[in-house]
């Protein structure tokens, strides 16, 4: 009997011994049940590459609540409903819910055309409206006060007849913030699938017309519309320029103590304070960029940790003083893109194809500003505000002893969102009744247990998929958002025979470069990157942009040809390979590697593992 290879069944995945309680603390509807063996699941390593803290699970939950609603009920995608998710050992597995009944598909096709086509036709107006909604939502979140409990209620509560005590504000702020976060994810998915769908339609056409065209050539015909993802880097350049203009640039040196630099500038008088004022302008909103992709509470922003923009200042200042033009040549980029579009058009044989091409590129250009631009508002700006607000609750609870004598504000992320609400109510109750909260006796042990579990789970790998592989993956959401295809799954099944010296990924920007790998896990490590090093990191996003002036090439675990790393690498003309899956685990810091951005391969040249730098 020839048996196809398949992935383990969900029921065969055991909870890591000793972590059972931590596993049980995830919401009941995210636990695997026996019926789940009937379905196919894959590990969402793209969005959730690390074990999930209990609070951070809200990221998956709120996203799938919103994604599902838009696919299933709002736009009514004909063949795909939402995406179900489960968590085991901190790992998020997801599975699409497909529509297979032809009559139902037929009905949904009609609904979809009535709804989605309206969006495509009115895209610019709806997107303008979208930005207003997002800005209003962000303004609401920013307006929420820091949660605090005074000893006595301020006098105006009585003198104005407000009639609501301070402890209520805690619940109010928390619920508004949770509500806002869910709302943000609805906004996130209002356009996303439609945007990707229009892009994929153009993409498929190009692949048929030009069978050997690279993904990056197609994306270059479409990308670069939206300035927002480049804006944080632009702001760093602007501040560097201002530092030179104000004559305060001598303060910006490598490995500077940032607090001291800020204090020195403040003492410097008018010029120093002018620069500090400029810094404040840039920080809000442009430094609300996450150092990860915003899906974990510990993906901090530039605002939370200024070391990344500060690491970039010396290089930019040097270039400005040398007379190098740092301006992003927007007009030139647009001209190049238009030329590319015209050149490919010329290669088409028939007038019919030229007409179709015009229609499809027109639609892709129309939708793309959203595809590029939404991340800054959603994953970066709003998410940063959100996690910081939760951190404020963490600080309040820590202050009240909820996490024990050694407790820290970040311990709050070991509570799931419902537990956190109960802890807040515990505190509200204790404040109100003048008694002692139960939290300090309840939470420290659980926090310790979950901290240990996260660490333990991090040591264990997990299968890339679970259950029986379906014959075809034609859920457009899964194909578009995760790039999961039948071929990928077969490749995963072949994983064992793989050459450990060569990694494959998406060819993001061509060119071949050999150099020293700097495996960087967080912003804090940015300082280790030397001129000409090859950046190896898990995921790519606007935060890292300034580092591209220093590196010789870039490699990521996660991302496709449309990822931010790919886009920025192309702007800087650096070889880049993205979405290798495991560059940060296979490549040792300091090893020599070769990046071939045209072929999408990374070769490890050193045989001997290098001792990790201290």
């Amino acid at each position: 009997m020839s048996q196809d290879k398949s992935f383990p069944l969900p029921s065969s995945i055991k909870v890591v011994p000793g972590t059972e309680a931590a596993q049980a603390a995830y919401p009941y509807y995210t636990q695997f049940v026996p019926e789940d063996d009937e379905k196919f699941w894959f590990y969402n390593s793209m969005h959730f590459p690390e074990p999930m803290h209990h609070f951070d699970m809200i990221t998956a939950e709120a996203a799938y609540v919103a994604l599902g609603a838009f696919n299933t009920r709002v736009h009514v995608l004909p063949t795909a409903k939402g995406i179900d998710h489960r968590v085991i050992n901190g790992r998020v597995y997801i599975g699409g819910i497909a529509v297979t009944d032809p009559d139902e598909i037929e009905e949904r096709v009609g609904e979809f055309q009535n709804r989605a086509f309206y969006y495509y036709e009115n895209w610019e107006d709806l997107y303008a409206q979208w930005k207003d909604k997002m800005k209003a939502l962000i303004a609401d979140a920013q307006a929420l006060p820091t949660p605090s409990l005074p000893k006595y209620e301020p006098l105006e509560t009585t003198h104005t007849g407000k009639g609501i005590a301070a402890n209520h504000a805690l619940l109010d702020i928390y619920q508004k913030q949770i509500e806002g976060y869910h709302r943000m994810w609805h906004h996130h998915f209002e356009f996303l699938l439609l945007g990707y769908g229009a892009y994929m339609t153009f993409f498929d056409f190009c692949k048929k017309a030009f069978p050997e065209i690279s993904d990056q050539a197609i994306s270059r015909m479409v990308a670069g519309m939206e300035a927002e993802i480049f804006r944080p880097d632009e702001e760093v350049k602007r501040l560097a320029r201002r530092a030179v203009e104000l004559g305060v640039d001598a303060h910006f040196i490598d490995d500077a103590d940032i607090d001291k630099v800020l204090a020195d500038l403040d003492e410097l008088g008018e010029k120093g304070r002018s620069w500090l004022a400029e810094l404040e302008t840039s920080r809000n909103p442009w430094f609300n960029v996450s150092s990860g992709d915003g899906f974990y509470h510990y993906h901090r922003s530039w605002n939370d940790d200024l070391s990344l923009p500060f690491a970039a200042f010396p290089g930019y200042i040097e270039k400005i003083k040398a007379g190098v033009d740092l301006e992003r040549p927007t007009a030139q980029l647009i001209e190049e893109r238009e030329q590319l579009v015209a050149d490919y058009r010329e290669l088409l044989d028939t007038d019919e194809d030229k007409a179709t091409y015009d229609q499809l590129i027109g639609l892709a250009h129309r939708v793309f500003p959203y595809v590029e631009g939404h991340k800054f508002y959603c994953e970066h700006w709003y998410t940063n505000l959100f996690f910081n607000k939760i951190r404020e609750f963490g600080a309040l609870l820590a202050e009240h002893g909820f996490f024990g004598p050694e407790g820290k504000e970040d311990d709050v992320f070991h509570l799931n969102q419902y537990e956190l609400e109960s802890a807040i109510i515990d505190l509200m109750l204790a404040w109100g009744i003048g008694g002692t909260p139960r939290g300090p006796a309840h939470w420290p042990a659980l926090v310790a247990q979950r901290k240990a579990a996260i660490e333990e789970w991090g040591k264990h790998g997990c299968p890339p998929a679970l259950g029986n592989v379906p014959d075809a993956i034609d859920d457009p959401a899964i194909v578009m958002l995760w790039g999961i295809t039948r071929e990928n799954l077969d490749a995963w099944l072949e994983d064992e025979t793989e050459n450990e010296k060569e990694l494959k990924g998406f060819a993001a920007c061509s060119g071949v470069v050999e150099g020293t790998a700097r495996v960087v896990k967080s912003v804090a490590e940015m300082g280790r990157i030397q001129q000409g090093d090859i950046l190896v990191c898990q995921v790519t996003n606007p935060t890292w942009s300034p580092i591209f002036q220093k590196i010789g090439a870039a490699v990521s675990d996660i991302g496709g040809s449309m990822s931010h790393m790919a886009i920025v690498a192309r702007e800087y003309g650096l070889p880049a390979v993205v979405g290798t899956g495991k560059a940060t685990t296979l490549i040792k810091d300091g090893q020599r590697i070769r990046v071939d951005g045209g072929r999408g391969t990374v070769t490890i040249l050193d045989d001997e593992p290098v001792l990790e730098d201290a």
């Binding site: 989605a116 086509f117 069978p211 065209i213």
Partner: protein, 345 residues
């Protein structure tokens, strides 16, 4: 001066009936400003003059027309006879003087002598072959001799039997011969301005190896191979092969093979910069002709890029269907149903 000779700078594709495909193409490229090793064409008129002289002594065309293409013995015998005559019998003085004068004007250096057929079918591999190209021809006398050998190839067994089977009138059979300065090639090869494997017009495939391009064209060596985006210039495939030998000039003329060792054997024969130069020239030529091309090129020892031949790609051109990639839709939005409708529109 007679019309036995035509310079590249004076001819184009339209002159194909008198200068042949190769001559016309090299003329067209020269006129269009593409770097081509300078040279001239010994026209069909020169051939006709010579053939008249042959016919005056003994029939040529009539004998070919009387040939039974299935009688291999007779064909071989006739081929031997006619080729000997073409190579040995006196060449009319006006033709010889004209081509020697042109050769003198070209300069004293070595030349390549290449047959340039006048019919579409002559592009067919069954008709023209490597034996029609002579490289590193060092003297005027040798050059004249090689021109005769090119003419003689019209009377190869394969050529004659092919014509008979196709029933081509022998009166139309003529051949032009290209004489051009030899490129002292550091490396050379071919370039297709579409993919030979998928027919994709958005890529350029380049094959090259050290030494003369003849090694690549004849398959004597496995060339390095690259696939580049025609428009973007990105290099998506780099197959660097083990190139065991290269062809170079032989003492006293002609070519010889040299074993390669070490670096030259294993390193890419072209730099990325040279690949980009090739791509740019390939694009210009393709644009000029308005269709994908099959091009021969060489980089000389000084790094100068020269084109040795460009002809329309034929394999995929015949397969190119007029059926569009995607059926046009009245409402452009209907196209998205290909993604959202489960693959059906």
């Amino acid at each position: 001066m007679s019309d036995a000779v035509a310079w590249f700078r004076d001819v184009g594709i339209v002159d194909r009936p008198t200068v042949g495909g190769k001559g016309g193409s090299l003329g067209e490229l020269t006129q269009f400003g593409i770097a081509v090793p300078p040279g001239f064409v010994v026209t069909t008129s020169a051939f006709e003059t010579f053939l008249e002289a042959l016919e005056a002594r003994e029939p040529v065309r009539a004998k070919v027309e009387a040939l039974d293409p299935n009688d291999m013995g007779a064909a071989t015998k006739l081929s031997e006879e006619l080729r000997r005559r073409v190579v040995e019998e006196p060449l009319p003085a006006e033709v010889e003087t004209a081509i020697l004068a042109a050769h003198g004007e070209l300069g004293a250096g070595a030349v390549a002598v290449r047959s340039s057929a006048t019919t579409e079918d002559a592009e067919d591999a069954s008709f023209a072959g490597l034996q029609d190209t002579f490289l590193w021809v060092l003297s005027g006398t040798d050059m004249v001799q090689k021109v005769r050998e090119c003419w003689g190839s019209l009377y190869s067994v394969e050529s004659m039997t092919y014509r008979r089977k196709q029933d081509f009138p022998e009166s139309n059979v003529a051949m032009a011969v290209v004489v051009q300065s030899m490129v002292d090639a550091r490396c050379a090869g071919v370039m297709f301005t579409r993919s030979p494997t998928s027919g994709d017009k958005s890529v350029i495939t380049i094959e090259g190896a050290p030494g003369l391009g003849s090694a690549v064209v004849s398959g004597e060596v496995t060339p390095d191979r690259w696939v580049m985006g025609k428009i973007t210039g990105e290099i998506s495939v780099r197959d660097i092969s083990d190139k065991h030998a290269k062809q170079v000039m032989a003492e006293g003329g002609g070519i010889r093979e040299v074993e390669l060792a070490g670096d030259e054997r294993t390193k890419p024969c072209l730099s990325d910069d040279e690949l980009q130069q090739l791509r740019e020239v390939g694009r210009r030529i393709e644009r000029h002709y308005g269709k994908p091309q099959d091009i021969e090129w060489a980089f000389d020892k000084d790094g100068k890029l020269m084109m040795l031949q460009s002809r329309p790609e034929t394999v995929w051109a015949m397969k190119d269907a007029s059926r569009p990639v995607a059926e046009p839709q009245a409402n452009p939005l209907a196209h998205v149903m290909g993604i959202f409708g489960g693959g059906k529109r």
